[in-house]
Every structure is written in structure tokens, then in C-alpha cells.
Subunit: 874 residues, 2 copies
Amino acid sequence: MAGDGSERALQYEQTLMYGRYTQDLGLYAREEAARLREEAGLRRSLSDRRKSLELLEFEKGRCAKCRICTVRCQKFLISRVGEDWIFLILLGLVMALVSWAMDFCIAICLQAQKWMFGGLESNVFLQYLAWVTYPVVLISFSAGFTHIVAPQAAGSGIPEMKTILRGVVLKEYLTLKTFVAKVIGLTCALGSGMPLGKEGPFVHIASLCAALLSKFMSLFGGIYENESRNIEMLAAACAVGVGCCFAAPIGGVLFSIEVTSTFFAVRNYWRGFFAATFSAFIFRVLAVWNKDEETITALFKTRFRLDFPFDLQELPAFAVIGIASGFGGALFVYLNRLIVQFMRKQKTINKFLMKKRLLYPALVTLLISTITFPPGFGQFMAGRLTQKESLVTLLDNRTWAKQGIAEEFDYIGHSQAWQHPQVNVFVTLLIFIVMKFLMSALATTIPVPCGAFMPVFVIGAAFGRLVGESMAAWFPDGIHTDSTTYAIVPGGYAVVGAAALSGAVTHTVSTAVIVFELTGQISHILPIMIAVILANAVAQSLQPSIYDSIIRIKKLPYLPELGWGHHEKYNIRVEDIMVRDVRYVTLNSTYRDLHDVLLTGHLKTLALVESAESMILLGSIERAQLQALLSQQLGRPRRLEYMHQRAQADKKRLSEISEDGGQRVSQEVRFQISTEESSYSPPRSVSPKPLKPALKRSSVVERSTEIPISPQDSGIALKNLFCAYPETEGLEDDPYMEDDMTIREIAEWEELQLDEQINFDNCKIDPAPFQLVERTSLHKTHTIFSLLGLDHAYVTSIGRLIGVVSLKELRKAIEGSVTGKGVKVRPPLASFRDSGTSSSETEATELHKLWDRHTSISLPREHLQTSDSDDKSQ
Amino acid sequence: MAGDGSERALQYEQTLMYGRYTQDLGLYAREEAARLREEAGLRRSLSDRRKSLELLEFEKGRCAKCRICTVRCQKFLISRVGEDWIFLILLGLVMALVSWAMDFCIAICLQAQKWMFGGLESNVFLQYLAWVTYPVVLISFSAGFTHIVAPQAAGSGIPEMKTILRGVVLKEYLTLKTFVAKVIGLTCALGSGMPLGKEGPFVHIASLCAALLSKFMSLFGGIYENESRNIEMLAAACAVGVGCCFAAPIGGVLFSIEVTSTFFAVRNYWRGFFAATFSAFIFRVLAVWNKDEETITALFKTRFRLDFPFDLQELPAFAVIGIASGFGGALFVYLNRLIVQFMRKQKTINKFLMKKRLLYPALVTLLISTITFPPGFGQFMAGRLTQKESLVTLLDNRTWAKQGIAEEFDYIGHSQAWQHPQVNVFVTLLIFIVMKFLMSALATTIPVPCGAFMPVFVIGAAFGRLVGESMAAWFPDGIHTDSTTYAIVPGGYAVVGAAALSGAVTHTVSTAVIVFELTGQISHILPIMIAVILANAVAQSLQPSIYDSIIRIKKLPYLPELGWGHHEKYNIRVEDIMVRDVRYVTLNSTYRDLHDVLLTGHLKTLALVESAESMILLGSIERAQLQALLSQQLGRPRRLEYMHQRAQADKKRLSEISEDGGQRVSQEVRFQISTEESSYSPPRSVSPKPLKPALKRSSVVERSTEIPISPQDSGIALKNLFCAYPETEGLEDDPYMEDDMTIREIAEWEELQLDEQINFDNCKIDPAPFQLVERTSLHKTHTIFSLLGLDHAYVTSIGRLIGVVSLKELRKAIEGSVTGKGVKVRPPLASFRDSGTSSSETEATELHKLWDRHTSISLPREHLQTSDSDDKSQ
């Protein structure tokens, strides 16, 4: 299966170039490509040897040995890892450059705003105008640009990546257009100084980058078109996205796993680590080369004391931060969803906003920047600090409030922003937290590329700081009762709060690791872990994660997770949720049946059963394949052939009469047949779609790209099926034969054709579609669907097809929206009891239903009088 | 499915108590239990309320608020998380206590040795005797104790856990005996001062602890017997094991995932984090309460400078450490395997050692302790330091060798051990590395509970230190060219080396995280990540991990991983490796067929097909179930019934003659039937084994515990099947009827019974055993087997059973031991080309084979002349 894709690509090209003879030419081209690749390999190894020789001569230099080592290691890696690591390094490199360049631009944008603001200090009104206009323009541009270039670039992108990694390919989310829109939109959005984050979009950008790189690399190699490989690479790309955004390789890998995967293949672990490490490395090296830093360090380096980071008795305070963050995180998700739903429900607002798309972003930006206007309300909430500056000050290791009196602290640098002559630092912090909370929840609903991680992170840090400052004020000499006094470090609380709140909003534990990598200190590991776990426990029990919430809002085809305590899932069976009215074709169906089935059904695949009576499932066929079959049967080429044959017969009759021109006709016939063969099955319609038994992934947009025939190609009956699709390509008209049949003749001919039995010879059939038994529990079904990335599964009973269950039914059942049968959420401790009693009962009935049914089919019902066997088998 | 187990347990008890009426009583008991549980819940909530009221009154105290919060949070957690978190907390607590107590004992043991050694300073010979005898005695005791109590406790335990988490339940590895043997054996082994580690055994101990705790908790709750839940808990336990061994919760979770899992369910992530964090917390809190530490800090805290941890130009040196560690790690694994295989191959040695089991451990210990004898050779390799002390000195942030002259350094404390008047510190380090390397590889082959992680970690640290010291000697003023000079920190190199070598030996990346948590510093994150990834790349390409190596040596039923570049796996199909001679029963088989099949086959499950002609697979039945069926048919109760009926018929005839005593006989008959019902199907034979479709896990030892009947119960024909099993329980003899049939009569009766058709009514059938198509690729088969934890899968072709493939065949195919058909390892870059061409060809043939076959079965072969359809479908 590894090379199917590349082969398809190759073949497609050759088909275009040479018209036919695809197979042979494809083989030739492949051999040629292999030869070229081998030669390139030889040349490369030669040049490598030369290089190492040169290096040997150069050995007087300091790093020569190291370089030789590097060269050797490189050669070794090339020979071992194949091409994977090259891809990962390229990906890491590109993403590091993108991340660094974007940071650079954002910094310039923010500086420009500050410069404007500073320059107009004389006039408050002008200052306000400048302060407000700048972000409004940037956000409006970002929203407009995104909307025009690629509307799917708006938002975080993590929900979409989760869906894609689940197996549902949303192709429009992985295009170059989206990449451009996302990068430029994100730069502008972040440059505006709104409380938006770059993490989520970066996950998306990295995935886009990986997808584009895959496409680019597929020009050279073969495996880059392999679907499962691409999924693996996308998973690695998500890690790179987080990794190069925060220079946090480990946290990046873990965060991306938690946020995007359901089941994680440990064998792909190294990919993420490798790429994320390389990316983070380059990202930080760029900072060193740009003289921003002296050496590679953490992004938000803290300098807490190492010898006594915190006292044991401070732990309850950390736990409180965790629990409060849990509630806060849930509230944030709820608020965010509420705003979106409010905007959608209010029809008048909605209509108005749909018309003037830029108005909503502009209004929100205006509101937020008005609030943060430093000489105005912003003075009470450190409004003039950028997100990054606030975070740096919040993680400061000095205590702001000594003995509860804020004035004693000598504020320097950015920390001055937290000082206000009238109100003390606690009030400032409180206002900051509340306002930022509301502003962030509002800002993340703007349709620009933006994430919610960083704003939430800052709010969490502020909350932690507030608790820490309170603790410091409460225990001015520290809690420790021994001789040595260790003062409380509020910065440590800020770190804990940041990890806890961001963990609560995203439902992840790995924010702890991200925090370690961001701050470069791991001394607070236990408080952070405790707070993050508590925050997760609370938040997960109240609300879905922000990403799952967006998935629900956007109605993406994703399978929700089963909750912790939902033991009721064991009681629901597939038969309760399956669709019993399955569309199928039988082995002896006519084309007319096929036509009717295609008209009525909507599923992407159709079941193939032996006969309508036996209903034994033989396989499944993709809709597109069947449409191709039908269009072949009714298509113009076949009709032309029919006409030609008729004409030939006529001519033969004529020649039998006149005995001349026979030679010419037979020539023409041969040619006709060959033309028929090449246009009969155009390369796109029967491109070698690999057979995908069991582990199949289907794409949502497949239908629109894989429609095998152009509408003008189709006959009357086909028009019903294909009328929705625009003209895609002109048919090369057969110059030797004009379509001189009347519409009535065509209809008659089609009626005849439709009564023929289907010829499945040219049709790709999946011989092992995934099957479930009707009493498989919802829980198990969910596991299997998640594990294998299924889209649908047939429900069979001893080989007989009795139903089909797709992602949609499963999602409905899990979300409890199936009335009467859905999952009713009951207290977990109660449900736990129920599942104990019901499952074994149903197991027994399952068995006996099965057996009763089967005995009624093939066995004499001689054992049915033993109805007490139920009790015995228990 | 959640409550099957508890129900089974309940039911079993009641069966013993009341003889029959199981079902009704089971229901009653369950209701009763539910009522009691509800009452307990009410009572608990009442007492909670009272407690919080008391606390409110107590509010003058400092921590009152915190306590109220804690109580509330506790209540909240109880209501939300159900019981899982209680289990995890208990597990964490127990493991922390075990770890701490063990560390305490080990420290005492080591101190005792030092004290003895110090006390005998006058006489070198006595000193030597004491130095050598002490570890020999301890190791011999450990080996002997382990061998007597539970031989499976020897070694690391991680390979076994990997196998168990793969789905193969090795029950004898999870018993109380093993727990005792492992804990005591490990304490003695580590107390001896040999280069052994505690990490691997701790993973095993934690799993044992979880398994035992599960058993214990199942006395109270219901879900603790659920198999899949237990597997989840075992995975969490592995994390706890590492976490409380190193006080490294995050590293513990990641390491355990990397080492034990193939596919990881992200929804179980929190369990590991929760339990490991709690465990690590308690473990470190114990140290604080014991006044060892002032507050919670890292185990091997380092104090490297934060502002400039390393220079960018030092990175090549770190990369060199990584690559060299990769080779070193591979060498270690190879050496370790070589020693084991050498000891096994040498038959004379082997025989001798098998007789005197304690000799080998004693000899090895003698050798190693002789080498480390401080006044002897030990003086050149810091022999008097324990493992922990060496590590602490190696991670020291001072430079030992200034300007290459070792004498200038002012050695204090344990660091003195590295100083020698004649040789400089480089030589000492080199000798230390080489000798420790050999000693560790040798010591880990001793059959005591021991791991290899910690010794390897120390060797890595020494190697890193060596490189670091060399760098420090080479660049005495640091590499940095700016005004400020930053000296090189050799301790940082030691950290990198430790992570890289342990990563190389175990094939994990997460050793990096463990190192951060162990040292409490994350400043060297990039060098460590780079070194670990390089070490992994090198080591993985040369050797399997130490755990996989042990799995191969021990021949555990584990599925090996598919390598990186093994694209050939795509070319092998299931039909190449499957067993075609499948044992099956048909719906109309007689008991005689069943008897024959059971005698010849060995698989744990048998296929059930419709008939020998159609071969349509209907399901699979466990061997034990079939044996129960057979024994029911031929068992004594049935024979007695038969005799009774015969007797009754005789009596009836008699009564027809004499017309008296009818009343008595009919009474007896009624009673007989009821007895028959209760003893007919003894609770153990048809205990409600839950039906496990698709996702089934079967246990290796199941057969021995699940034999449903005692041998004396069985007839002559059954004797063949069950003669191997010892008498398990006496049959309660029926006092009303003695077995007065002669052997000949019995044999005749059995022949009659064997000719009857099988009645499957009482038999649990898995209606959806996992099925593959014959052309499923090896790669996909491997993925499915790993994902679903399958033991075997049937190979079907359009419903017809044509073969079976089990873990064994799959393993053989992957390891290439199937002659002619196995995987030949070719250069990965070459194979990459092959897979591109071959896969699509085979897909096509697959399709057409399928269709050809099917058309030959049910369709007229009218379409077969279109043989050029191959080309078109391409």
C-alpha cells in the first residue's frame, strides 16, 4: 500500500501526456525514476566521501573532529532512517523560521503601537484614537483577509486537527491558501495586542506546513502520498507547532497528543520528539544569532530560589489555586460558547453581521482596546503591557506586596504598570483577572486565526500571583517555623496558576510540562502537578474542553469522548442505535436497482450482499465506484459504440447487398474500439483507489473531487444523479461519429441498459468492511471506531446484514440526543450499580437470541423446550 | 460488562450457601447490597456535613479555611470520580510507603557494610573478607529466597508487564507470593551494593500492588473484577512504579508508556499522572517528615547556574555524547544477552549451575565485590562509593580537573573517592566506566529482582562527566568569545550522558524527563533532548531494547514491533503465514467429532462453522466451554440420570405388575431432577464468562483454572482429555443412587452418547471473532493485533473460514523465522522502492481472485472473458 499514491500521481501525468498505454508507460517511468534515484544516491555518497576527505585535511581547525562526526552521523542516519527524518527536519526548520519571523513581525507591530501612543502623549484624545484605531485596523484586515483567502483559517485549528487525525480528512483545511491566510491573519491579529494566543493556530500552521511539504516532497519520493504516513506526520506536526511556539519540545509533544489523539501509537513518539526538539532548537538559536539572547534559554525564564522552592504547608494554597482554576476554566469555556451561541441565535444581529462581516471584529476590538486604554480604565489593569510583558512581570520572583502595603515595593521596569497611586496591587490584579477573562472569552470568538491558550495562561498567572501575593501578605516571614525564614515566592504561585488554568481550559495535564519548559525551572513540579490535576478533575466534570466545545459548535464530524463515569454506555447496544434501513446492492441487481439505490441513499459506501433473501454481507463498494459503473453503462461512449455497432450492422447488411467498402469499415471498427477503451474509463474515474479493508479512512470531500464523469457525458437517467455538479471537463468528441439519436431513442436505449445485470468486474470492492454484532455495547463500539478510525460499520448477525452504524448515529447516541434511547446522565455512583446487573442479563439474551434465531434457520428446534437454560448458563 | 465479575463472585458464594436458586438469590443480594451502599452514602454525607460544621466553629485556627476547602473538594471528588481515584490514591500511598521503607532498609544495609569495613581498618584481609562476604550473603539470600518463594520475581519485571499489558495475562506474575519475593529480594539485592537498579522491579512491584489491591477492593465494590479496567489500572501502576522510585511523576508516566505500551489510550493518561504524582508526593513528604530534607525537592538536586547553562558551541560535544551513548547502549544490551546465552549454551556449566542455584549469584558477587574492594583495584574506580553517592558526586557542579591537572582541585566529601595520588581523574573515570559497564552487564544476569536502569544511568553520568572534564580541560576559560567568560560545567555533561545512555539501553526518549525531575533542573533541556534522540537513533538501529531482548531470551508471548524501515512487511499477506488446518466444529457435529477435535487441537478457542461443506464462520467457542459440553454429555450425573430413568422404567414395569409404591417413586423422581439441575452444571463450569466479541483478551493460565469438572466425574472417553489434571474437588455423592454400571455398560452408554448431536444451548459463543481477509498485509495484521490485543484471528474469504492466524505465526513471520516466507531484512532504501510497485499489483490480484472465486460459486462466469479489466482498474 505504500506506493499507491505516488503511482497514482505518476500514472495520471502519463495519461495526460500520452493518451493511453498508461500501464506500460507507468512501469517504464517507475523504472526510470528508480534508476535516477539510484544514480543520485551514488553521486551523493561520492560527494559525501569527498567532503569528509576535505574535512580530514582541515583537521587543524577546532571543530574538525566534531564536523567529521557530524558528517558520519549524517551518513549513518541517511542509511538508517530513510527519508522520515529529512522530512521532520525540514518541517522543524520551516516552522522555526515561521515562528521566529512571526514573533519578529508581531514585536514590530506592538512596538509601533507603543511608539504612536508615546508620541501623542500631549493629547489624550489623539492618544485614544491611535490606541484604538491601530488594533481595529489590524483585526479588520486580518478578518477580511482570512475571509477572502480562506475562511477555514479562522479560529484555533486544533479542533479541525483533532478531527483530521481522527481520520476524517477535511481537505480544505490543509491547502496553501489556508496556510497563507493563517500566517498573515495570525500575525496581524497578534500584532494588534488583543488577548489572543498563537498556540492553537500554530498547531494548524505546522500541520498545513507538513501537508504542503508532503505534497512538495512527493515530487521526489514515493511514500509521501501514503495516507497513513501522512496522518503520522500530521501528528508530529502538531507537536512541532506547540514546540516551536513555546520552545517547549516535550510539552509540545505531550500537549499535542492529549489535545488531538484518542489512541496514540507509541511507535510514532520519536517523530514528534525529534521534530519538536529540532524546531525548538532552531527557534531559540535564531534568537541567539539575532543577539536577543546570549545562549539558548527558556522563553520566560524565572529565577526562583532552588534550595527551598516552597514549603510543605503552602500546598493547600496550591490546591486551592487548582480547584479555583478548574471552575474558572469551565466558566471560560461556557462563556465562550455562550457568546458564540448568542450571536447565532439572535437572528437580527446574525443577519446584520453576516452582511457586514468586518463589523463584529471591529466592534469587539474597539470595545476591548477602549477598556485597556492606559490613561483610562487600563490604568487599573496594567493595560499598557502586552501579553508577553504581563507574563514576564507576573512570573517575577520578587514580592509586590510586602505586609499588604503595595507602596513599599520598588517597582521597576514593566512592573510599574501594576502600580497605581490610589488602589493597591490586589485590586489591580483582581480587575486584571476579571477584565482579561471577559475580554479573552469575547476576543476568541472573533473570526480571525487565534488561539485561547496564551490569554488563559496569562489570566491563570495573574490569578496565581493574586493568591501568592495574598499568601505573602498573610505570612510575611514565610510559614516555615524553623530558624531560617524562607519568604513566600508569589512568582511560584503565578506559575502554578498559569499551568492550572490553561490545563483546565484545554483539559490537559501537559500544560505542567509546557510551564517547566517555558520558565526553565522545574522546582515547583509537585505543586504544579497537584494544581493541574485538581483543575482538570473539576473542569472535566463541568464542561468539555475548549476544543471539544468548538467541535460541537462547528458540528465537525468528530466522535466525542466517553466520559469518566458514564457506565450507562455499557447498557446501550449497537442495535439500539443502528440504522436498519441499509442501502445495498445484490450480486444480481440490475443497473436500475443501482440507480434507485444511488438516488435514495446518502452514505459514501454501499453494502454488497449475496441476495436480498440471504442478505449475507460480501463487502462494500464506494458510492463513486458505483456511480462510475452506472455512468459507464449509460454513458455516451457506450451509446456511441452501440450506435456504431448498429451502424456497422446496417452497413454489413448494406455490404452484403453491395459487397464493397468492407475493408474500410473493419479498420474503422478497430479504431473505434481502441478509442472506446481509452475514453471509456477515464483515468480519474478508475484511478487505482487502494482497497482498504477494515482500516479505512474516507474523506469528506471525496465525493466532490471524485465524481468520475462530466455531466454532459451522462444520459438522461444519469442527469438525476449528477445534475448538481458543474461541468468539469469537455469530452473529446468523437469526430467520426455524431450523436444522431433522438431523445426518445436515447431513453429507450437507456431503459434497455438499465435492465441489464450489474457487471462488478471493474469495480473496487472492499471485501472486509468492518462488522459488529447487534449486541456490541456502545462502549466497545466507541473504542473500535476510535481505534481503527472507522467511518461506519455494518451490523451483522451470523453473516446476515441487519443494519449499519455510522459516526453520526454513534455521536448522537453518545451525546444523548436520540430521544428515548440516548444516554441519560445519572449520578455515576448509581449507574455503576445498574451496569452490574444488566450486562450479564443481556449477554445471556444475546446468546439465546442468536441461537434461537439460528436454530430456527438451520436446526430443528428440538432444544427449545429447555427454556430454563438461561438460568443454568448464568 | 462492568459488573460481571462481582456478580460472578456473589453468585458463587450464594451457590455454595444455598445449593441452588442462584439467580433469585443473586438478585436479592444485589438489591440488598445496593440498599446498604445507599445507606452508607447517606451516613457518609451526614458525617461530612457534621465535620464541616465543626470545622466552621474552629475557624479561628489558621488552616481552617484550607481544611474546609479540602473537605468540600473531597466531597466533590467522591461524587464525581466514583471509585477510580480512591484506588489510585491507595495505590500511590502504598507504593510510596514501600519505596520509602525499601530505601530506608537499603540505606541501613549499605551503612552496615561501610561500618564493618571501617571498623576493620587495621587488617586488610579481614577487611576484604567483610567487604566480600556481606554482599555474597545478601545476594545469595536474595536469590535463594526468590527461587523458593516465587521464581518469577527474578529480574526486572518490565518485560513481563509489557507482555501482560499486551493482553497476555501471566497470572503467576501477579500474586502475593511474587510481591513478597520481589520486595524482600530487591531490598537484599540492592542492600548488597551490587550495581543493580530498582526501577524495573518497582514497575513490577507497583503492578503487583495494583493487582492485589484490585483483588482486595473487589471485596467491597463491583468493578474491580472488570478485566479491561484492571489493564488500565496496571498501566497506571507502571507509571506509579517509576514515579515513586525516582520521585518523577511525569517521567514515570512517559517512561512507563514508552516501555510497556504499543498503543496508548489518551483517556487513561490522567490515571497515570494522578497516581504517580500522588505517589511521588508522599514519597518525598516522607523524607521531609523523616527530617532528611527541609522541603520537597528533587532526589539528586543539581545547582548548575541558570543564567548561562551552556554555550551554543558546546552542542557538538553533547551530540557526540549522544551518539557514543547510542553505541554504548547497544553494546550493553548485546553484552547482557551474550552472557545469558553463554551460560545457557555451555551445557556443563548449565547443568552444574542448575544443581547449585546459589553458586552463580555468589560467584558473580564475589567477583564484582573483589574488583570494587577499595584498598585493592577499587581505589582506581571510586569503589567505596555506593551507587547513589557516585551519582551525587558525578552530578556535582564543580569542575574536577582544572587545566588538566587533577591535583589542584580541592576534593571534599565523597568526591575524594575520585582522587588518587598516582593517576589523574580522567583515568579513574575511564576505569570506572569500563569496569562498571562490564560489572553491570554481568550483575543484571543474576537471578534476583533487579533492574538495569540505575547502573546504566550512573555509567552514562560518568561518561558524560569524562567528556565534560575533557572539555573543561580543553577550554579552561569556556568557549564563549565575549567579554564574560563562562566556564564549562562538567556536571551538565554528566546529566546529558546519564539521560543518553539510559535512553539508549531502554529505547526511550522520556529518560530526558526523568533526568529533569531527578535533578530538579531543566536548563539543559536542549542538549539532553538532542543527545537522547541521537542515542536512540543509533541504539535502535543496532539492537533491541534491553526489555525486548529479555522478552526474546525468556520467549514471552509478545508481539515484536515492526521496525522502522521494514517496508517488506507490506508484501507479506496473511495467507502466507496462516495455518490452513483449522480445528472447527459444525452446527451438526456429534459429540464424537467434538471429542476428536478436542484431542487433536491445541488452540484455546475453536471455530464454529455452519457445515463442513459451506465452512461459513458463525463464531468461536472457548475450549473450556466445549470440554464442559462434552463432560456434561458423558458425565456421571447424566449417567446416573440415565440409570435412574432406566430403573424408573423398570420399576414402572414392576408397578404395572404389582400396582404399589408408586407414590414414593414419583417423589424420588422429582427430587432427582432437582438435584440433577444443581449438580449438573456446577457453578465453576458455567460461571458467567462474559461474551467477549472482537476485543477479547484471553489468559494463558486460564485452562488450568477453568477446567470445569473433576476427573473422577468423567467417563472413559473423557479420561483421555482430562487425565493430566489432578483431583480438584470431591463430588458430593448422590446417596440415593449408586453407580452400579459395569465398565462395559459405561463404554456402551458413552458410545451412544457420543453419537448424539451437540446441543450448543448452554455454550457461550463469541458471535464475532475477529476476521481478516487472506490478503491483509502483515503490516495491517500487526497493527490490528496490537490495537485490539488479539490472540488469534480467523481468516475468511466471503464468509468462508479458510485459516487462522495466531500470535505465534505473526511473531514468526515478523522475526523472519518462517523459512522461505519470512521477512528478509534488506536495506530500507531499496525496500522502499519495492513496496511502491508491488502493493498495487497485489491489490488488483486480490480483487480479481476474490471475484473469480465468487463468480465461480454463485455467478455464471459470463464476465471472465474481460481479462483486460486488470489494466483498466489500474
